[in-house]
Symmetry: C2
């Protein structure tokens, strides 16, 4: 009867414990995507995983801890996916395009993950516990912002507020899961392509400006 391990992840973690935690997090993700944040109780998650509800308490202790793990897992998965997808883009324009396309494709192939992430961040967002949601958002915006700013400094992007553009872009891509859910028949590849092109138009230095600048 030991676990109670929150952040103290001192490499002590038996094989079986790691497996259980993974199973529970996965079940939580699917349950969140199915029934939403409000109805994602330990009982429902446990039922979905085919285990006892008390077992979740044993491995996670607090409910917030489980949801933090959900956020962390989905985040790590998405980061890896996007990093791989951006790859060795030669220009900032290309990197931005690949980022957008990569995200759309990720939403398509990991719908439950993205829906679950949204549910958790929205669910805990209104309260003072929303520290997680706020820092999460700030981090996403910050990364995009920096990328856009560097693109400007390299003369690839026109003059705009990187912060505003980052917020705007983030909103656009966060709206995608809902759209794919509302219209399951959407041609995802075409969607990705057109969205990235739209933002390319919005951020790139105009042809006339480029002529002027040269």
């Amino acid at each position: 009867m030991r676990p109670r391990n929150g952040a103290t992840d001192q490499k002590s973690r038996s094989f079986i414990e790691a497996a259980r935690r993974g199973q529970i997090v996965q079940a939580a993700i699917e349950t969140l995507a199915d029934v939403g944040y409000a109805k994602a109780s330990f009982a429902r998650i446990a039922e979905h995983a085919g285990i006892s509800a008390g077992l979740i308490s044993y491995h996670f202790g607090h409910k917030a801890e489980l949801f933090q793990q959900v956020v962390a897992d989905v985040n790590a998965l998405m980061d890896g996916w996007l990093t791989e997808h951006i790859g060795d883009a030669g220009t900032y324009r290309e990197a931005l395009q690949r980022l957008i396309e990569g995200f759309v494709l990720f939403c398509d192939s990991h719908r439950a993950h993205v829906l679950a992430l949204g549910q958790v961040l929205a669910g805990i967002g209104g309260q003072e516990n929303g520290e997680l949601a706020r820092s999460q958002r700030e981090q996403s915006v910050g990364q995009l912002e920096q990328m856009l700013r560097e693109g400007q400094e390299h003369g690839e992007f026109r003059d705009f507020s990187p912060r505003l553009m980052a917020v705007t872009l983030l909103g656009s891509i966060e709206a995608i899961p809902a759209e794919l859910f509302a219209r399951p028949g959407t041609d995802v590849a075409a969607y990705a392509k057109e969205l990235s092109m739209t933002y390319d138009i919005a951020v790139r230095r105009s042809r006339l400006s480029r002529i002027t600048r040269a």
Copy 2:
């Protein structure tokens, strides 16, 4: 002891009942904005309004009914605001710009309303009850989509998928409340201006195309 009136709004509604309903809805909006969907219980809303909790049950019966009214009220307010703000725009480009700027200004001057709306739609979104959230979203997207399509037909906008652009734009403007909350010091007028300009760039027919077309 009669009310129990859901949709049956047969113009019978005493002055005092209408006033109470309004007061309760207003308290619900402020409570939702304060503590979020999950913690917006009858008890808390009643406390915020300085009335008994049972009184809410008397006037609304179901909790969903109250939240529907919240959505309806905020929606009506926003529709009126936007309609007035768009006014008699001469071109679709101008109408789109005014729409975007109007929305940003609305978010700024009605933060509680917008936050509450988001909380309700997100809170009930995951479940099968999400009918409301879905139809609400579909309606918003639909209106934007039609406006964009007409702009294309009039030759003001370039060739893009109106549906995708509508979803993208909706995401961008729905992200604004969170940004204003995260950075209270934002220059809202400047934000509105630059966002509308950004989308103008994204949707308008390019100068070269216009030359080609002429």
